[in-house]
């Protein structure tokens, strides 16, 4: 067998930058957190009411931040207009440009309808913003039918967002790590665990620990499914059943970096599972690990997937730099999330005590 050393070849930079990781991470979390808000606000399950309130906050914070990362990735934000002026409806990305506003408008409408009674109540309290609250409350009716209608629109939008984000990546045959039907499922389930993680983090920040066992129970279920899907991909690749998975594994073979990445991914996922099962009353650590897992999967898929060569032998490693489209972008997105969290929690009380 011949041995080959590539002396000179293309060194293509990653073209989907950390912006893409941030977008897929945040929009997935937002949709998942929105789903977590349904038991409390739509089905009025008392056990879920507190969780649903924090989940709605998480859905808003992440949902409003996510499109900013997407716009930033276009190098010139005004270019987004071309998505609506010249849509190519054969492209999943083109459909995404319609699903995102459908979901976000549904979410904002749903959030407003859910919060109307609270806004009306705050309008009655003395304060300089009382008039604003009264206007925002618009009567303050707790209209369950309207909430259900808005929830339906947001659910449809959310499901379509989950579908397109998975399909958009899955159909790229040229990227062996992406081209697996398991990918939309992996993105979907890790969005759920990430959404639980963000909700649990907000629970921890509000000092409410009663919901920890319930959240950890669902987190553990999500982690089990994630592990099954990751193992299924591995088995499909090792057995050669999936050509793309086998090719991706062959491209990773012998790389210490990929060995560490794989070990880290499986190790941290198992640790999250262990914490969620054995420390079901703890919130912060399982929450942070769940968020870490959801983010890591997307980082590995996007940044790692682009590092594998399509042609030749040269891998295309990505290095984080202190530039706006790299580390500063990631920090910036986190900063925007924090800013929105501060604004929303300053204007509206999200903890059970304030609402009581």
């Amino acid at each position: 067998m011949n041995t080959t050393v590539e002396v000179l070849g293309f060194a293509r930079d990653a073209s989907w930058l950390p912006w893409a990781v941030q977008y897929f991470f945040l929009i997935g979390i937002s949709v998942a957190a929105f789903f977590l808000s349904l038991p409390g606000f739509v089905w009025r399950r008392s056990k879920w009411l507190g969780i649903s309130r924090r989940a709605l906050l998480a859905a808003l914070v992440c949902g409003l931040t996510a499109p900013v990362a997407l716009l930033a990735d276009l190098h010139q934000p005004g270019r987004f207009l071309n998505f609506y002026l010249h849509p190519n409806l054969g492209s999943w990305m083109a459909w995404g440009s319609f699903f995102i506003p459908l979901y976000l408008l549904g979410l904002i409408g749903y959030a407003w309808l859910c919060l109307r009674p609270l806004l009306a109540e705050m309008g009655q309290r003395p304060g300089s913003l009382a008039g604003l609250y009264r206007k925002l409350a618009y009567g303050g009716h707790d209209n369950l039918s309207a909430i259900k209608a808005a929830a339906l629109a947001a659910t449809l939008g959310g499901l379509l967002v989950l579908l397109y984000t998975g399909m958009e990546v899955m159909i790229v045959q040229a990227r062996s790590l992406w081209n697996t039907p398991l990918l939309p499922l992996i993105f979907g389930i890790t969005a759920m665990t990430g959404g639980i993680g963000m909700t649990a983090l907000f629970e921890a920040l509000t000092g409410n620990r009663q919901s920890a066992p319930l959240l950890n129970q669902w987190l553990a279920r999500g982690i089990w499914v994630t592990l099954v899907l990751l193992l299924a991909w591995l088995i499909l690749g090792l057995s050669g059943t999936s050509t793309a998975a086998a090719d991706a594994l062959a491209a990773m073979a012998g790389s210490f970096g990929w060995l560490v990445t794989g070990g880290w991914l499986f190790g941290s996922t198992l640790l999250t599972l262990w914490l969620a099962r054995n420390h079901s009353n703890s919130l912060l650590m399982p929450a942070l690990l769940a968020l870490h897992g959801a983010w890591l999967i997307r980082w590995v898929v996007f940044i790692g997937g682009q590092s594998l060569p399509k042609m030749g032998s040269a891998s295309h490693p990505y290095y984080l730099t202190l530039t706006p489209d790299s580390l500063l972008g990631i920090v910036g997105m986190a900063g925007l999330c924090l800013t929105l969290y501060i604004i929303l929690t300053s204007l509206i009380p999200w903890d059970d005590q304030a609402n009581a």
Binding site: M1, N2, T3, T4, V5, E6, V7, L8, G9, F10, A11, R12, D13, S15, W16, D73, L74, H75, Q76, R79, F80, N82, F83, L85, H86, P87, N88, G90, S91, W92, M93, A94, G96, S97, E168, I171, V172, Q173, A174, R175, W178, D247, A250, A251, Q306, L308, P309, K310, M311, G312, S313, A314, S315, P317, Y319, T321
Partner: protein
């Protein structure tokens, strides 16, 4: 007075419409025979001098470090321990079934009737979906424009009746460019002479490239199992000086 000149003149004017029509018809027929531009690369003639790389970069003002074409070069050692050089000139394959086109969310990437795949720079949003979809790593997001960039077969030169810059400059005549719809073109004759011994990159991808190779090593036609000097190199720009 001799009537002959008058008759001759009359005959000339009578025949004029037929003559002009006769001249016009073949010219019109030639115009409607749309060419299908393709490239044949004879790797046996390539010496990896990278003159094509440089000519393309200068012609198309590619940003530093970004290339529309390049000659990938490999050191291949056989079972007997003999090492030789193998080359693979690479560029956009102007596929018949280009995977870059259906993914483009705004329809900025398109294939012309003459077979050339182009990017409408006014419409491109720089989302890089086409870059991901290209199996040949032929596309990139131009650092200067923030939009998708790739080989155009130097369509601007073709319109001026010139060959692509890489073909024009190739010292070994390894790149043969022409119209495969025209059986008399050099590329058609060379393809016919090769008698099916040509190959394309990643035939399993089903893209039907219009860049053909003679003498392409099978093990180099896609991802290559082997090492790369790029992975071994210290990169001051990214790893710190």
């Amino acid at each position: 007075m001799n009537a002959q000149p008058d008759l001759s003149r009359r005959a000339f004017f009578t025949a004029l419409p037929a003559v002009t029509a006769g001249l016009a018809i073949p010219a019109h027929a030639e115009d409607t025979a749309t060419p299908h531009w393709s490239m044949l690369i004879d790797t046996r003639r390539c010496i990896a001098c990278q003159a094509c790389t440089m000519a393309c970069s200068i012609e198309n003002v590619s940003p530093e470090g970004q290339f529309r074409t390049l000659v990938a070069t490999y050191a291949v050692t056989d079972q007997d321990g003999t090492t030789g050089m193998a080359v693979l000139p690479r560029l956009c394959n102007h596929c018949e079934e280009p995977p870059c086109i259906p993914v483009c969310p705004v329809g900025a990437t398109f294939k012309r009737e003459d077979g050339i795949v182009l990017v409408d720079g006014d419409r491109c949003v720089g989302c890089a979906y086409c870059v991901q979809a290209c199996p040949y790593d032929a596309r990139f997001v131009n650092h200067h424009t923030g939009k998708a960039d790739k080989c155009t077969f130097c369509s601007h030169r073709l319109e001026a009746g010139l060959l692509p810059a890489c073909v024009e400059t190739c010292v070994g005549g390894a790149r043969i460019f022409g119209d495969i719809n025209n059986p008399q073109s050099e590329i058609s004759r060379r393809l016919a002479a090769a008698d099916g011994k040509t190959s394309v990159l990643k035939p399993e991808a089903g893209t039907h490239p219009r860049v053909f190779y003679i003498g392409l090593e099978k093990q180099l036609d896609g991802r290559v199992d082997g090492s790369s000097t790029a992975d071994m190199m210290w990169r001051p720009g990214t790893q710190g000086a």
